[in-house]
């Protein structure tokens, strides 16, 4: 019987076993928008 106060390592183990998500490494350096149709822009 495990005491409720007994610390577990389940979460840590799960974290170690989880596949590593690829890091987003590409920088978003440019972002283009069209302002055609915006109110007040001529």
């Amino acid at each position: 019987m495990v005491s409720p106060n007994t610390p577990t390592t389940i979460e840590a183990s799960d974290a170690e076993a989880a596949p590593q998500e690829p890091l987003v490494t590409e920088e978003l350096l440019v972002e283009e928008i069209s302002i055609d149709g915006m109110c007040g822009v001529y």
Partner: protein, 88 residues
């Protein structure tokens, strides 16, 4: 698909105005009426002075850390595709 030729000299299109911003710059193309956010002060400076360098590669080598060359080439390719910069 970008048609950027990194061995050639490029310049800011004459129809483009750059406005400095804390995040980099706003670029507005008066011909296409497109607005582009340049999200890096380093990229904004690079684009502003692009014509001073014999090629894109020379411009990158002069001012951009090597580990960022790929991202900057990608960004310059997007700017070339949308005619914000053009080959001289």
């Amino acid at each position: 698909m970008s048609d950027l030729d990194c061995s050639r000299r490029y310049r800011l299109d004459p129809d483009v105005a750059l406005r400095p911003e804390p995040f980099g710059a706003l670029a507005y193309h008066y011909g296409s009426r497109r607005l582009t956010f340049l999200r890096s002060p380093l990229l904004a400076e690079l684009v502003r002075h692009l014509e001073e360098h014999a090629s894109i590669d020379d411009a990158l080598a002069a001012s951009v850390p090597e580990e960022r060359h790929g991202a900057f080439r990608h960004a310059l390719g997007a700017l070339a595709d949308s005619r914000f910069i053009c080959a001289c």
